[in-house]
């Protein structure tokens, strides 16, 4: 896991073909920083780069779109009830006469926040949990696996419905907005599947010599997990991160659509789509604008998946400019 990844495969052939070039000791390759390699590989994939740009733009819309809004989410405009997109209301108004643009900005922000929080934290939890299971094995592994499978068995949908709809939880809901409660429950149920995969991957990594060496040197278990196991499953973790964001946004939209997610006065993409579902034929913009925003949010993530996997894969076959130049020279 050093920083330099020299393209060694070309060297022997070159030194045989043109030995006179190798007289001086300066290496004929540049040492490239690992993060530079990852960034370059990622941006070499045009679809992934495009996805990242769209995702950032939608994110900026959610964060700063509110500055452009002339209306807030709940003010009723009596002159524009249930009208389509116009100069006064860019995304049109709802059947109640509230401004859809302001609601869309808040919806994108809420959905994206849920996605990023759940995606990010569940990656960390699943990595740490999976690695601990694999590293210690034995009884601890059995107990942790049992806990994991028990959580997997509990129907997530019902737990969310109970927590969101329970009237006794009124006190919690006064302190925390509804979308935060939804985020917490989604987070609790989001990491088990990834943790299982990471466990089996980490189990094979633990047999490697460098982990054994670290063990015999007396390095603390948590340090071994953090320094040797986590970096080795890096590409999987990055993929889990984007997949986790997608899944969290999807779950938010799905649960809210059937009425057990984000509730008024909060807005999310799910609640915008849900409020439009009874008027899809008469007020189509109310349905399709949040739907388009939703696809602009999750579509780029799946475009980025392939580029990210390639960028973080140490055995990537992606050929960059430096290597191409070398090949040209070799000819």
């Amino acid at each position: 896991m050093t920083a330099a990844v020299p393209p060694t495969d070309n060297l022997p052939r070159e030194s045989q073909d043109v030995p006179e070039l190798k007289v001086d000791d300066t290496p004929d390759f540049k040492v490239i920083n690992k993060s530079t390699i990852i960034t370059r590989r990622f941006f070499r994939n045009k679809a992934a780069a495009f996805g990242l740009i769209v995702f950032i733009l939608v994110g900026l819309f959610g964060l700063f779109g509110g500055l452009l809004a002339q209306w807030d989410t709940n003010t009723i405009d009596p002159f524009y009830m249930a009208t389509g997109p116009s100069a006064a209301h860019w995304f049109g108004t709802t059947s109640a006469g509230t401004d859809l643009y302001a609601q869309a900005v808040e919806g994108v922000r809420t959905s994206m926040a849920i996605g990023l929080i759940v995606g990010g934290l569940s990656v960390i939890i699943s990595a740490v949990y999976g690695c601990i299971m694999a590293y210690f094995g034995g009884k601890l592994d059995n107990v942790m696996l049992f806990f994991l499978e028990t959580l997997m068995m509990a129907p997530q949908l019902l737990v969310i419905a109970i927590v969101i709809n329970g009237a006794g939880g009124q006190k919690i809901r006064e302190v925390l907005p509804g979308w935060v409660i939804l985020t917490i429950v989604l987070l609790i149920f989001s990491w088990m599947y990834d943790a299982r995969v990471i466990r089996s991957m980490a189990m094979s990594l633990i047999q490697r010599d460098y982990v054994k060496a670290a063990r015999y040197m007396g390095v603390s278990p948590f340090k071994i997990v953090w320094r040797h196991l986590v970096p080795n499953i890096g590409s999987l973790l990055v993929l889990n991160f984007t997949r986790g964001i997608t899944l969290a946004i999807l779950s938010e939209v799905a649960y809210t659509f059937v009425g057990i997610g984000v509730k008024y006065p909060n807005y999310s993409l799910g609640s915008l789509i849900a409020q439009a579902s009874s008027q899809i034929n008469t007020l189509p913009w109310m349905f399709w604008i949040p739907m388009i925003l939703f696809f602009l949010l999750v579509g780029p993530l799946s475009l980025m998946n392939d580029g990210l996997r390639d960028a973080f894969d140490p055995t990537s076959l992606s050929v960059g400019k430096a290597k191409k130049d070398k090949k040209e020279k070799a000819k």
Binding site: A154, Q156, N165, G166, V253, A254, F295
Partner: protein, 327 residues
């Protein structure tokens, strides 16, 4: 092998017990049906509410632990899952609906497994051809569509077809038409009502199986034992069906258990969208009405479904994988 499965089953029983108990405590802590009673007209006095709930064994003044012990005793000794705040018996309410939902889930699970695995094999055998790209692309597309919205759009589509045809071709709500004669017409009527929800859950769930089966089959097509088989003179298709397929199905079979929760959730969404009087719609309404016992009974149902499918997955793995020697 039998012993192994028995051991697994025992573990699952413990897990079901834990999930249900934890769910019961969660429900007792968050749900308070007494608050809804106060919205009734004429408004009952607090004493009336208290007496009413105490007679239903839903006494809000008892501690959570006491209620739990009372509830657990009833289940263990009488298999009585308690009563709803409106006085209905959970056992009979649940019993009426459980087969409606279980049939729907079972049909959806079996169909999506068969279609997913078949399409996975088909697309792996034609890697990077147009058909492979369409099938796999569809699976990835489904992955980013929220299930209830897809069901909703299918429902709209079915309604549009009905209107265009000027006749009721697809049933998009409910489970049966009133006044159908018993016997054969009832079965046809029921099948017609099952059609759209089953179709919806299936088209949204086979993607995962398809991608997994394609991936594992491609991995094993390039394995040495398949190359050996080809070298011995088998055609590519013979090598795939006789050697690669079986090996590649093992991880898919193991994954069956872990896709069931998704189908279970999908079934709930479908019931909510299609006004389908199964467990899903009932439990969502019951939770809205602060019904602790109904919520817990459904939690138990969900975990039993998971356990059964996990055991089936274990059995399937043993059948296809000759290397599994379990003891």
């Amino acid at each position: 092998m039998f012993k192994y499965i028995l051991k697994r089953a025992l573990t699952y029983v413990v897990m079901i017990f834990l999930v249900t108990s934890a769910g019961y405590f969660l429900a007792v802590q968050t749900m308070n049906p007494a608050l809804l009673e106060q919205e009734k007209i004429p408004r009952p006095t607090p004493e009336q509410i208290q007496a009413n709930f105490a007679s239903l064994k839903l006494d809000p003044q008892m501690s959570a632990w006491e209620r739990y012990v009372q509830w657990l005793k009833d289940i263990l000794f009488h298999f009585d899952w308690g009563r709803s705040p409106n006085g209905a018996y959970i056992n009979s309410e649940f019993g009426q609906r459980v087969w409606v939902s279980t049939r729907l889930f079972a049909a959806a699970i079996i169909l999506s497994l068969i279609i997913g695995v078949a399409l996975g094999v088909f697309s792996a055998a034609r890697q990077y051809k147009a058909s492979d790209r369409i099938i796999t692309g569809y699976s990835y597309l489904v992955y980013i569509i929220p299930a209830p919205i897809a069901y909703f759009l299918v429902q709209l589509g079915a309604v549009a077809i009905n209107q265009a045809a000027g006749d009721r071709i697809f049933f998009v709500t409910g489970i049966s038409s009133p006044g159908v004669e018993p016997g054969w017409p009832t079965i046809v009527d029921m099948a017609a009502h099952y059609l759209v929800p089953t179709f919806c859950i299936t088209i949204m769930s086979w993607g995962g199986y398809q991608i997994a089966q394609r991936q594992y089959l491609l991995d094993s097509v390039n394995a040495d034992f398949v190359r050996t088989a080809r070298a011995k003179g088998l055609t590519r298709n013979q090598a795939i069906t006789r050697h690669a397929l079986r090996v590649s199905f093992i991880p898919v079979a193991q994954s069956i258990a872990f896709t069931v929760p998704a189908i279970f959730t999908g079934g709930f969404f479908a019931e909510a969208i299609f006004a389908w009087p199964g467990i899903g719609l009932w439990s969502l309404q019951a939770i809205g009405a602060q019904d602790v016992n109904a919520a817990t009974a459904t939690l138990a149902y969900g975990s039993v479904l998971f356990a059964v499918s996990a055991i089936l997955a274990d059995i399937a793995t043993t059948i296809v994988d000759p290397r599994v020697r379990m003891n």
